[in-house]
Assembly symmetry: C2
Homo-oligomer: 325 residues x 2
């Protein structure tokens, strides 16, 4: 991001009182969400003399948003935060909702709920995004589509070419619809306290998806790819448990993921109950950890979902039956 | 604290679901408010499998309260917190108000506003508190007394012996009055947004007091001692600036600090404008940093205060005139 936009950021106007802004660059990748990088940004702010009137502007993808958000929420017990997401994934998901964090004690295990004063999501910057990173962003977009009938109809009507070509009017529409949906869910249930709906529904595809990321050491699947796989698993689980009321969703969701060039089949290496089940039980949103149940967001049909504590035995059964295919 | 109360804590009942509580002991002293100790407590919680239903109970003085509070506010983006302050200072001040923090980027420069679900302040534990630590706690108590006419009258009526002897009925009264006052101020102005009153008044004695702690490297004066000195400085500054309307407060405050065996004179080593002024300008609550003004909470009379941006020149003048005495 710095290579593409660093010089423009450097040219930004100074503060009216003459205090110049500074730029701190952190290395790309999840490795920057560690204690040392967080501490170094805090110390840089302190040495720069940043005070409670200053704001931290996090320009980058999910890593910078999570890290920058956690810095802003903890420096001086909280300074203003502006999120400028530069990846599709960060625009439609990470930059809204106030979740900040670093990977201390586990992935995103340390952090805060801290809302930005402002989010600037400009689809123009997506033209410089890598192809795989663009496609993974569409994984979260697909999740929103299955959550909303109207959005599903819209995206099914857009041509594959326009999406692949990153047409600005299409990107603008995708981003603004996702942002509106996410902020609606977040405003209704800011701290994920509604156990049967609300913000929790945004975790569709994430229970199995997070486990996929974890068992592959976070270096095989990008988050949005893992979510796509997780959506497929949740959908099949919903079918097995007779929660799915409209079987045509299996075909529609698979077709959507295929069109978006996302993974839509589950690799056999991800079907071992001995490795994948414990990871699902570890999820910090899984408040029943310790029990032999895992919480899943399961679709009934497009736009209608159930949140269920699923028996480990039922999950194991699906894993085994998929591995035999 | 662990030597005195560790075994009782170890005997606490287990959780109904059989999950045992664990105890993590951190070394006494401000040194434990560092990044490494914070990270190690987080990692201990993660390894223990603590989840969002668990609570962190911080048993100790201000260091444990600040550190434990910051851990609770950041682990899993926030778990329940119970404060069990074991020093007088922590009981009357640090445990209420939701300020948590560690010394990263400067003293208390990193932290959060995070309120405990519950504060258990039991004056009985003050019997094992060291003498100097007990007296420094009275420094904050004296601050509350000057903030409130009724409290001032009460404490002037208590015998020196009963305070020195730590009589339980007296301690109970002192603690409960301070707690009520502090929680009233905090509820009215939780994030210190009222610039001319509200929670800011609790900083009486703290502008100069913090600078005293800083220039002496945090190892000469305890916080409550520095606050006592800071109250004397603010009072004399208020007199110089003609803000003080009742000159008898000079005698009353000095007498109170003397009776409580607190420092009430300002050592000449603390009067060098070149060292003490920059420290005052650094205070993170001083939003006018960069200007040649420092914010002070200045008494008019008992229970009546002004919050003023004081010119550095006026502060320098007082420092010089005191150093000539």
């Amino acid at each position: 991001v710095h290579a593409h936009y660093g010089s423009e950021i450097g040219d930004m106007p100074r503060r009216p009182d003459g205090f110049a802004h500074g730029v701190k660059v952190v290395p790309a990748g999840e490795g920057s969400k560690d204690v040392d990088t967080w501490a170094s940004v805090i110390e840089w702010l302190a040495v720069s003399g940043a005070n409670r009137k200053d704001a931290l502007v996090a320009v980058g993808g999910g890593v910078v948003g999570d890290l920058g958000g956690f810095v802003a929420s903890t420096y001086n017990r909280g300074i203003d935060l502006v999120q400028v997401p530069t990846s599709l994934l960060a625009m439609v998901d990470a930059s809204i909702g106030g979740k900040t964090g670093i990977d201390l004690g586990g992935k995103n295990k340390t952090g805060s709920f801290y809302h930005p004063k402002c989010v600037i999501a400009d689809p123009c910057v997506l033209t410089t995004l890598g192809e795989r990173e663009y496609i993974e962003g569409l994984g979260e977009v697909a999740k929103y589509a299955v959550l909303d009938q109207d959005f599903m109809t819209y995206i099914e009507g857009v041509s594959d070419y326009d999406i692949a070509d990153r047409r600005m009017d299409v990107l603008g529409e995708l981003v603004s619809r996702c942002v509106q949906m996410k902020s609606g869910y977040v405003q209704d249930d800011p701290y994920e306290q509604n156990k049967n709906g609300g913000r929790v529904l945004l975790n569709y595809g994430h229970t199995y998806g997070h486990a996929v990321e974890a068992v592959t050491g976070y270096n095989e699947y990008l988050h949005g790819e893992a979510v796509a796989i997780g959506m497929q698993f949740a959908l099949l689980l919903s079918k097995d448990l007779n929660i799915l009321t409209d079987d045509s969703l299996i075909e529609r969701q698979t077709a959507l993921l295929q069109r978006l060039r996302l993974p839509h089949e589950i690799d056999t290496s991800l079907l071992d109950p001995n490795t994948i089940l414990p990871e699902m039980a570890k999820d910090k949103k899984n408040t029943e950890a310790g029990n032999a149940k895992v919480r899943f967001v399961l679709p009934k049909r497009v736009g209608e979902f159930a949140v269920e504590q699923v028996d480990a035995a039922d999950i194991t059964q699906l894993l085994i039956s998929l591995s035999r295919k």
